[in-house]
């Protein structure tokens, strides 16, 4: 029988607050200690009885790992240690099925999808500490014994990598205790292995080349797209001298007519509209739009956003009566049920809206949001073209997130790295 401590696959984030617990359907043959980390085989038979842990191994590090100390190897020394998937049946030995992996203490063989197994290492004895780990990126499972690495046991471990620590017990007197590195450190230096793995990953990433020019081109694209023209000129002034290879590929970089020409031509006008909005002068922004991008005046959503913002700005200046009058005129021209819009009217319910739950509507970020809607609308309706739904930098970052998502799906939910650290 196998024991998987009552822990789902190794997930340290889960067991920080809650220690893993042994789970076994078997109370006739297995005796679980009060702290639920030690299990002893008390039956007389020779059936396989497993214990599983109720949590899978943690997948937030590149390697998941646990150790088991052999308190007593029992009558026949037939303890088997390994990992299994959530649907593993606890009366099977780990390693017999395709969804489990095991290291058999009676003969030192490794087992996967087989009852026979292959030679791997030595059998283990009472007082040994056996470790089992999985390298998620490589898809490899390894074992350790008394703190020594025994080599990779299984490669190409794919699919659902949410694996549960599991131990199979078969003979009277067999007793093991699970360790998850919380109460006392592991015998094997897993931290070193994790750091090495993370280091390799960084080296791999750092080996990709990105020229200064590429980075600067991305930044320029971002500044042009959003109309930050002062920043752009300051940046170009001080970066020109450092981009010595700037001109060599320029033709190549800008060859495709994807609307970038339009962006450059309209930079100053878009900038003026943005800075009006950022300064809270919505009416002036609308005036500019009417003069320079009259087509935008027909874009209902965009214009509503602008008028809503004007309403907010009036409130912000304390011109409540003006705001109400203006708000009434707005109700006439908005047909659709717009959530944002309803929100702005409820600002009126607060005596001090800047301290209300809706205070974010008064923030500079809100202004930027409105400026972005307008900018986007100008670009989409006045000649930016299909391709310009975002600038290259933004697309790059979106691409990165979506790929990370796919990679982690491929790895059974394991995040290849923590992107939030970098954003």
């Amino acid at each position: 029988m196998s024991i998987t401590p009552d822990l789902p696959p190794m997930r340290e984030d889960n067991h920080t607050d809650m220690e893993q617990q042994l789970s076994t359907k078997d109370t006739k043959f297995l005796l679980v200690s009060l702290d639920k980390t030690t299990v002893t085989y008390v039956g007389k038979g020779s059936h396989s009885h497993d214990v599983g842990i109720s949590l899978p191994l943690s997948t937030d590090k590149p390697i998941g790992y646990f150790e088991v100390s052999i308190n007593n190897k029992g009558a026949r020394g037939s303890i088997c240690i390994g990992l299994s998937k959530s649907d593993f049946q606890l009366n099977r030995q780990p390693g017999w099925d395709s969804g489990s992996y095991g290291y058999d203490g009676s003969d030192g063989k490794k087992l996967h999808s087989s009852m026979l197994g292959d030679n791997y290492s030595d059998p283990f004895n009472t007082n040994d500490v056996i470790g089992c780990g999985i390298n998620y990126k490589k898809g490899e499972i390894f074992f350790t014994r008394n703190g020594t690495f025994l080599g990779t046991a299984f490669r190409r471990v794919r699919g659902d990598l949410s694996l549960y620590p599991t131990v199979g017990l078969h003979s009277q007197g067999e007793s093991v205790t699970f360790h998850f590195g919380k109460k006392k450190p592991f015998l094997f230096n897993i931290q070193h292995m994790i750091e090495e793995e993370e280091g390799k990953f960084m080296v791999e990433v750092e080996s990709k080349t990105v020229s200064r020019r590429e980075i600067h081109e991305l930044i320029r694209g971002y500044l042009i797209f959003h109309g930050y023209s002062d920043t752009l000129s300051a940046f170009e002034k001080s970066s020109d001298s450092t981009d010595d290879d700037k001109n060599s590929d320029d033709v190549h970089m800008r060859s495709a007519d994807d609307g970038s020409e339009f962006l450059l031509q309209t930079l100053q006008k878009r900038r003026e509209i943005r800075s009006n909005i950022m300064n809270g002068d919505v009416l002036n922004a609308i005036r500019c739009i009417e003069d320079d991008f009259p087509r935008v005046m027909d874009e209902k959503r965009c214009m509503r956003t602008l008028r809503s913002q004007h309403f907010v700005e009036l409130l912000k200046k304390g011109q409540t009566m003006d705001a109400i009058t203006f708000g009434q005129s707005m109700v006439g021209d908005t047909m659709e049920d717009d959530e944002d819009e309803n929100k702005i009217f409820s600002l009126l319910a607060y005596p001090k809206p800047e301290q209300s739950p809706l205070a974010s509507l008064f923030s500079v970020q809100q202004r930027e949001k409105v400026a972005d809607v307008v900018n986007q609308t100008i670009i989409q309706t006045c000649g930016g073209g299909e391709n310009q739904w975002a600038c290259a930098l933004e697309k790059c970052m979106r691409q990165l997130l979506v790929i990370q998502d796919h990679l982690s799906q491929r790895m059974g939910g394991v995040q290849p790295f923590d992107l939030s650290k970098y954003l």
């Binding site: 990709k208 694209g221 920043t231 000129s233 970038s260 790059c396 970052m397 979106r398 998502d405 954003l423």
Partner: protein, 237 residues
């Protein structure tokens, strides 16, 4: 740059070839496990990805600040809703104070910002105090210099033999009328000021946990790496 993305996207999949050869077939992205994602689907995912303008602004600001595009950073703060520049300007201010010899004010500003910076860094603190002594000597305030050395620096010197040696050297400056022609004139130089200012600047940066490398280039490398890994038919990942 647009092309970089198209090229990178093409690398994960066979859509470029397939779309040119069989123009009728919808373009697809192929994954190791025979997952197929249509370009439309992928584009929708891109549009849904959670990338906020705040994050992007921060990336740009982070680049400007770390690479030292001061004017661009200032303009950027004006034009966008980006992160506040207060910490950068405070840090720059402290650096300027040090470089112009106004050590006492620099120390005050640093302590206002985060007293731990000097508390936890005895070598840096000694160097700053030493610099203050040098400035007093430069101003020919001999009595003040002596008093300051006795009250503030002697104790530190007793604790650390290295500091004591430095202190003795600095005190020796008092023996010369013309500081510029002594063997110790390097202590009086502008370069010495700049050195200490940089040391302090680095400690402040460290305390703010600011990386010395900007984040943007790493993220672009990461994008390239991720795309190659995703496109890797053998899927070593």
């Amino acid at each position: 740059m647009e092309e970089l993305i198209v090229r990178l996207m093409a690398r994960n999949n066979s859509y470029q070839e397939s779309s040119s050869t069989h123009s009728a077939a919808p373009p697809t992205l192929r994954f190791q496990e025979k997952q197929e994602v249509s370009i439309d689907n992928w584009m929708n995912k891109l549009k849904d990805a959670d990338v906020s303008r705040q994050h992007l602004n921060q990336l740009i600001m982070n680049y400007f600040m770390i690479e030292g595009y001061k004017e661009a950073a200032q303009n950027f703060q004006q034009e966008s809703a980006a992160v506040d520049l207060e910490t950068i300007s405070e840090r720059v201010n402290i650096r300027n104070l040090m470089e112009s010899g106004r050590v006492e004010e620099a120390v005050e500003c640093t302590n206002d910002m985060n007293p731990e910076i000097l508390d936890t860094n005895s070598a840096l603190f000694f160097h700053i105090q030493q610099q203050r002594l040098i400035e007093l000597i430069r101003e020919n305030r001999t009595m003040d210099a002596l008093q300051f050395a006795q009250q503030q620096l002697a104790a530190q010197g007793e604790e650390n033999p290295e500091f004591l040696e430095e202190l003795e050297k600095t005190m020796a400056l008092l023996a010369f009328d013309d500081h510029t022609s002594t063997p110790l004139s390097h202590l009086m130089s502008l370069r010495q000021r700049i050195k200490i200012a940089s040391e302090l600047n680095a400690a402040i940066l460290l305390s703010q946990k600011q990386d010395k490398d900007p984040k943007l280039p790493f993220l672009i490398k990461m994008t390239k790496w991720s795309q190659e890994t995703l496109g890797d038919k053998h899927g070593r990942m």
